[in-house]
Subunit: 249 residues, 2 copies
DNA sequence: ACCTGAACACCGTTCAAGT
DNA sequence: ACCTGAACACCGTTCAAGT
């Protein structure tokens, strides 16, 4: 038994030494391909992600990727899944059980928000790709996280239908706030390859004509302020208050 | 003056009679191209919208479209703009001025919701495409509608920053709820061209393993229930209550 | 003025072939 | 076992040319 295992290991090691791999390259794997896909979109934006381009960024031809990924659509799904699964590697360490369901939802909200701000260009995928079941609601779109969610709430006083209603309300809340936040934060990070058709020095800043839109013109400084943090906290607090009214069913 | 106008009109009419057009086809125009683009996505889904396919559905080669539309990206932007502008053709007729800002927001919320349910496959574009200014927040993404919004609220007791905060909260609310609603409603309407790789009779329904996910398994009937209408109304009511607390600034 | 044929660069994807 | 060359079908887009 032990000998067999050693032999197999030795053989693996041997064949690994035999194969000549370009020096700077790691051995390919699904995780590596998916991880590089996420990093690629983080750097260059979603439209830039092509099978050929991703292959090149891994030092390989595009066709090699098809051994680890079932086409481009499967790659995108895997990228989303990879990010959403990450929500579990950080178990609720900082969370006291005494905090109750409010503490759990606070932790979860900020965990998902961290995902959105870390990957503003990938988050639209998390938000809009069809989940694997129709009753899964982005961005809480994995079976595991739904199970956690329902467990956390039902074990802390929620009735069945109240827990499900909370899942729905919480998903909508996260989706709306984080998608808008990711969009505005991601817009500044794009390589900006679209605004170069105009020959003259056109100003890219959209100016508001005060005759047509007097209020918008006057309030533009307010509209341009970045209040994402406090908006999120206030809206979250309000949602928790609303949920509190339906705890017992 | 009047004669000149008549002459021009006559000339236009003349050239129109000269040109021989395939019998069943309307004369092309930007509005026609954009409108057909929306109808095409409604029928076949977003991935099916190609310049060649859209041209064919208009009885024309793809290259003809470039006379009316500045490429595919411009077409998508125009489709979004077309739908959002429609929110103004329906001025607040059914709305009594006595209803106050709550009445306006109720009307606007249902108008945008109608847009989402009428075009579930296009709404993701309304939700995720970059607006023309960074401080415009989907789905309330036109200058005109923002002006209306701010006018409606500031003329009904809102301070400047309260009106802007309301715009932000309202956008997030609409985006989260309507994007999820459009996704679940649109998923059933797709031609479904992706699930046909498996050779055997694989069941497309995702089954929940009760050992791994006991709660999700038990609550699956609740999770699958369609509660979109009442969820939307309740969440909207709650948002209006929240806004009420910050009317005076 | 309005539409098209032909062409270009670039996709995703398959498969037989290399090592 | 793992990667690639060659090929295919299909994109978006341009432009000279037709009517």
């Amino acid at each position: 038994m032990r000998n067999d295992e050693s032999e197999v290991a030795a053989t693996r090691e041997g064949s690994r030494l035999e194969q000549e791999r370009p020096p700077g390259r790691q051995p390919l794997s699904r995780d590596l391909v998916v991880g590089r896909g996420i990093a690629f979109v983080d750097e260059h934006g979603l439209p830039a992600l092509t099978m050929r381009g991703l292959g090149q960024s891994l030092g390989v031809e595009a066709m090699s990727l098809y051994r680890y990924v079932n086409g481009r659509e499967d790659l995108l799904d895997a990228m989303v899944e990879h990010l959403v699964d990450r929500l579990h590697l950080d178990p609720a360490d900082e969370m006291q059980p005494a905090d109750g369901w409010q503490g759990y939802l606070q932790w979860l909200a900020h965990a998902v928000r961290g995902l959105a701000t870390d990957h503003p260009h990938v988050f639209p995928l998390v938000a809009t790709r069809h989940p694997s079941a129709p009753w899964l609601r982005p961005p809480l779109r994995s079976l595991k996280i739904v199970e956690d969610f329902l467990q956390a709430l039902t074990s802390r006083g929620f009735g069945d239908s109240a827990a499900v209603a909370a899942y729905r309300a919480f998903s909508s809340f996260l989706l709306g706030h984080l998608l808008l936040e990711a969009a505005s934060h991601g817009a500044s990070t794009v390589p900006a390859e679209e605004v170069l058709d105009e020959g003259d020095a056109e100003v890219p800043v959209t100016e508001v004509d005060p005759d047509d839109f007097p209020l918008t013109g006057r309030l533009r400084p307010l509209l341009s302020e970045d209040r994402d943090d406090e908006e999120f906290e206030i809206a979250l607090e309000s949602l928790l208050n609303r949920l509190e009214e339906m705890v017992g069913h």
